[in-house]
């Protein structure tokens, strides 16, 4: 192999930045589960959004058709992504916008920093954006001496508290209003000391705090919900109107968008404008939808930039079983219905993308071997609630299982000692691949009765099984298996047996 740079990166190009679980999920989950306030806040919030979503989804007779359409449009987009990206670039550029391509988080952060530096500004206002969370833009800018102010209310709460978002749509879902009041009193220099925890008063305090920033900011940084290839148009969908202020008032607008956010055409937006608000906030329609196409002379930002971000998306696209994860429109319906997310919260996942979609998207983008990301695909009981809720029908349980397979295969080795799980699976393979093997094993069932003793329950097991017996008993096994009963005692169909007629 030559060391000469040939202009092509080694494939696949995995993602970097805030995409990793930094500790194994079970360990992080144990800590978060112990936080009873968090459990209460999350339980209340997820159940409220869940119920709202179900109500507005039930209003649409063609909801399933919309989901099918959303899925089909996204699949077609991914199948034709290179051509669509070029089409988008041509249209965006023709209308006065400037496109920058970023292979990973580092490149994207450098591009944004250079663009801000070119304006001479040291402060920027921000529209809520997952892509910039993913690349750690705020932290990077801070190191470069540039202050980024989040303007979304929940992002503002999280930023003021020096915390991390725990949900992609409701970043402060883990905080209740009295905690938010405390944060405002502690961190907002200009706040009214008589502030109460009334939601309207809290919102008012944030509005007053932000208004000065909106009016003075010369540069805004945003993400985008959709990019429309046939016109070169960008879209931001939001609830508060802070996004609209950022997108229209400053002189310079820098947008960071993942390359998978494209839709082939303007008309496709109709499907997603029905799917997204209902799935995310449980609203029929979101309050603000902003669309912009390059520069409009004399109106709005005159310097319009777009950073197209890969950061592991092409690696995910290369995975035949996993690529539909890129269809995600970041609605968060999957996390709102997930029984695991509901109890652990978003921080347990480590990555910017928590919940069911994060458990597949993070390892797909970084590769299964990155930090502790191989623990994420196991963070699910495979109950399937996420798949049912997903507006673009990403089969999350199937991809979770696929990634578990990737993890197991990545650790197969002739030299390393097998884990307890490996040994259990190997033993079970022997037992379950033949009726006579299983029969032989089942002849040992009476031994289990001995273990269970007089109380007829097994209360403590060693090793991996200790996880089970930490909260669950196992009943004493029967004296004989079904197949033994069938072979020895079941008579011809004429003599109908009653199942509990005898116990050997």
């Amino acid at each position: 192999m030559s060391n000469t740079f040939l202009g092509m990166p080694t494939l696949p190009v995995f993602g970097h930045g805030n995409l990793n679980a930094t500790e194994p999920f079970p360990k992080a989950a144990r800590r978060e589960l112990a936080n009873t306030q968090l459990r209460a806040n999350l339980g209340h919030a997820t159940h409220t959004i869940r119920d709202k979503r179900l109500k507005v989804v039930a209003e649409l007779p063609d909801w399933e058709e919309l989901r099918n359409a959303g899925s089909a449009i996204k699949n077609a987009t991914m199948a034709n992504l290179p051509a669509l990206l070029e089409q988008f670039e041509a249209n965006f550029t023709a209308r006065g916008g400037i496109i920058h391509w970023a292979r990973d988080a580092q490149e994207a952060n450098e591009i944004v920093t250079d663009l801000i530096r070119a304006t001479g500004e040291t402060e920027v206002v921000k529209v809520k954006s997952m892509a910039t969370q993913e690349i750690g833009l705020n932290e990077y800018l801070e190191e470069q001496g540039i202050a980024a102010f989040e303007t979304d209310l929940a992002e503002l709460i999280v930023q003021l508290d020096h915390d991390k978002p725990s949900h992609i749509l409701v970043p402060a879902i883990h905080k209740n209003r009295s905690q938010i009041r405390e944060i405002f009193l502690r961190e907002m220099a200009d706040v009214d000391p008589a502030l109460t925890d009334d939601p309207a008063r809290l919102a008012e305090a944030a509005r007053k705090h932000l208004r000065k920033k909106f009016l003075s900011a010369k540069v805004a940084v945003s993400g985008a919900n959709f990019g429309l290839a046939d016109t070169g148009t960008l879209t931001v969908v939001e609830s508060e109107g802070n996004g609209r202020m950022c997108l229209t008032l400053p002189e310079t607008l820098i947008t960071v968008m993942g390359i998978e956010k494209l839709l082939p055409s303007w008309t496709d937006l109709e499907v997603f404008m029905q799917l997204l608000p209902r799935s995310s906030t449980g609203e029929r329609m979101n309050p603000y939808t902003s669309l912009w196409t390059g520069v409009t002379p004399g109106d709005g930002p005159q310097n319009v930039h777009l950073v197209m971000l890969d950061n592991g998306r092409t690696a995910a696209l290369a995975d035949e079983m996993g690529r539909t994860a890129l269809n995600c429109i970041r609605c968060s319906a999957c996390m709102n219905v997930c029984p695991v997310y509901e109890r652990t919260g978003g921080h347990a996942y480590g990555s910017t993308y928590p919940g069911p979609i994060g458990a597949i998207l993070s390892p797909l983008m970084t590769g299964i071997k990155s930090e502790e990301n191989n623990s994420l695909p196991y963070a699910s009981s495979l109950c399937g609630a996420c798949y049912d809720a997903c507006p673009v029908k990403i089969n999350i349980p199937e991809i979770l299982v696929h990634l578990r397979g990737e993890d197991v295969d990545s650790k197969r080795s002739k030299t390393k000692a097998p884990t307890q799980m490996d040994l259990m699976m190997k033993g079970a393979q022997w037992a379950f691949s033949s009726g006579s093997h299983l029969n032989l094993l089942e002849k040992g069932l009476p031994l289990g009765k001995l273990v269970a003793g007089r109380n007829k329950v097994i209360k403590k097991l060693p090793g991996l099984a200790a996880g089970w017996t930490q909260s669950r008993d196992i009943p004493a096994p029967p004296s004989q298996s079904f197949r033994q009963w069938w072979a020895t005692e079941h008579q011809a169909p004429a003599g109908v047996e009653h199942p509990e007629g005898d116990q050997a």
């Binding site: 079970a428 037992a431 004296s479 079904f482």
Partner: protein, 265 residues
Amino acid sequence: MKIALFATCIVDAMYPRTARATVTILERLGHEVVFPQGQACCGQMHVNSGYFKEALPVVANHVKAFDTDDYDVAVAPSGSCVASVKHQHEMVARRCGDAALEARAAVVGAKTYELSQLLTDVLGISNAAEQLGSYFPHKVTYHPSCHGMRLLRLEDRQLNLLASVGGIEMVALPEADQCCGFGGTFSMKNADVSSAMNADKAANICGTGAELCSGGDASCLLHIGGGLSRQGSEVGTLHFAEILASTLENPVTVTGEVQLAGGKR
């Protein structure tokens, strides 16, 4: 009709009464039940734990046992295992590059039914008291297991059969559609989250005042019952097949050897 019983490994080894109840119900309706001796397990534990290579011989064994013309339909008293047979076997064969097995697995999958599916859709049972003589004078709540609900779309088949049993008093389970937290090896790998989910399920069950929680998957009932037992609860779990098999003359006994997964004995 000639019906092949797929007992499933957990019922075969731990809950033989559930398989015997299934035989009882089908024979009571005049059908012939056969038990393919080669059967063992659907392989779901291996697949869902990511051990595809190890799953392949388990899947191949199941397909070999059931790929015959010797029966009309196959039935299993489990939504989860049937979902595996119907939805996972082809995928495992494909992933391991065995096209012949994939094709045979599709044939077996198409002939395999979950018990309430078979009773309702094929055998036309809508009133267990009248058509099966089912009688069970107890207060019962019902947990619909995730795979039956979301992969097989069983809807209310199990619940409707239970509600039509003579003498039974059904009470609705709050948040019934929430997973109990079993999830196979999830219960061991993520034991804390699994236990937290089970605790909420147990609280909802106990809040109904029911004597028993019924369901269609022995694995979930083992999980829920195991949690109730650890808490010292009087409430137990019982597969719906055993309730359907119970009659006035031969009532199902709720005490005895391996019976309820939980509760006082």
